[in-house]
């Protein structure tokens, strides 16, 4: 029984150590400067940092295939950027508070396009 408890505790320690080593700032400077941060779910951000926040130009890659390349402000997608959806669809244009806000073009994977003004992810007819 003691051996089992020791084994479980030891395994937990090794797992948490391994997890801690694979996440966090992996390259560069993630406080002020240019760096790469890896999250526990394997989402990565590579780009500019200001006061430990994503700020400036950067690329955020989600494990399920979403990729955002563009401007960040206060760790949110803000400014001009392009979002690649997993199926190949894209939105290129203005962003505010992490959503499509402003002028932009949505292009479906089959080439069909919708261009105009967007508000919080919705196209304004």
């Amino acid at each position: 029984m003691k051996k089992l408890i020791f084994f479980i505790l030891f395994s937990s320690l090794i797992t948490s150590l391994a997890l801690a080593r694979s996440t966090g700032c992996k390259e560069g400077n993630c406080d002020n400067g240019y760096g790469k941060w890896v999250y526990t779910d394997k989402t990565t951000y590579e780009g500019e940092w200001v006061a430990t926040k994503k700020h400036g130009q950067g690329t955020e890659t989600w494990p399920n295939g979403y990729i955002y390349k563009g401007e960040f402000k206060e760790s949110q997608w803000n400014g001009i950027g392009i979002l690649f959806f997993p199926d190949g669809s894209t939105y290129e244009g203005e962003w505010a508070n992490g959503f499509m806000n402003g002028e932009g073009t949505f292009t479906w994977s089959d080439g069909k396009q919708k261009k105009g003004i967007w508000k919080n992810g919705s196209f304004q007819e």
Binding site: D41, N64, G65, F85, P86, F99, S122
Partner: protein, 181 residues
């Protein structure tokens, strides 16, 4: 009556004991027969058990198939380096999948701001998730329901779309991309 009592008394001890044993067995059978009629579900229960057995067999078959798939991202569309699902596998994976991870929900919320708001206000709480195979459209649909109080108003929002990519962990599969646009 007196005659039968006397004739019973004249019987040998082993015969009496055997008769008693048969009597007890009949009584037990009768008791269970009565109880089954009162509380039992008879044919209905058998039918339910058969359905459950079939479900378990189907689940085992799907689990076997899932474990044979390569670990990683499985997709139903062209143009990626990920493992491309055949039509048959797509249906099987859809039927075997139950989980929808957070990033898939966040991705679907890009096109549904109300859902995003309720989702974040309520601490990323999801009321319900579903993954269903649509026989008519021959497509896999997945989605989730979020509800909560937003600026004094109780709201429920359902987000759904085509499930086009999955993550295979080797043990299970999870919806990775819900196309709701």
């Amino acid at each position: 009556m007196e005659v039968s009592k006397n004739s019973f008394k004249t019987l040998s001890e082993p015969v009496k004991q055997f008769g008693g044993l048969v009597g007890i067995i009949i009584l037990i059978f009768l008791t269970f027969f009565v109880l089954n009629n009162i509380f039992g579900e008879g044919d209905e229960l058998v039918a339910k058990m058969k359905i459950e057995e079939e479900r378990i067999a189907q689940e085992r078959k799907l689990n076997k198939l899932i474990s044979s798939l390569p670990s990683g991202v499985l997709v139903s569309f062209d143009g990626t380096d990920n493992f491309k699902l055949s039509d048959e596998l797509y249906e099987a994976v859809c039927k075997a999948t139950k989980l929808i991870p957070q990033r898939a929900i966040m991705g679907a919320n890009f096109l549904n701001f109300r859902a995003h708001e309720i989702y974040t206000i309520n601490g990323n709480k999801i009321d319900e998730t579903f993954v269903k195979w649509d026989d008519e459209k021959n497509k896999c649909f997945a989605g989730f329901v979020v509800s909560g109080n937003n600026v004094g108003v109780d709201e429920t929002v359902k987000v759904s779309g085509e499930a086009l990519s999955f993550l295979s962990t080797g043990i299970d599969t999870r919806v990775y991309f819900i196309k709701n646009f």
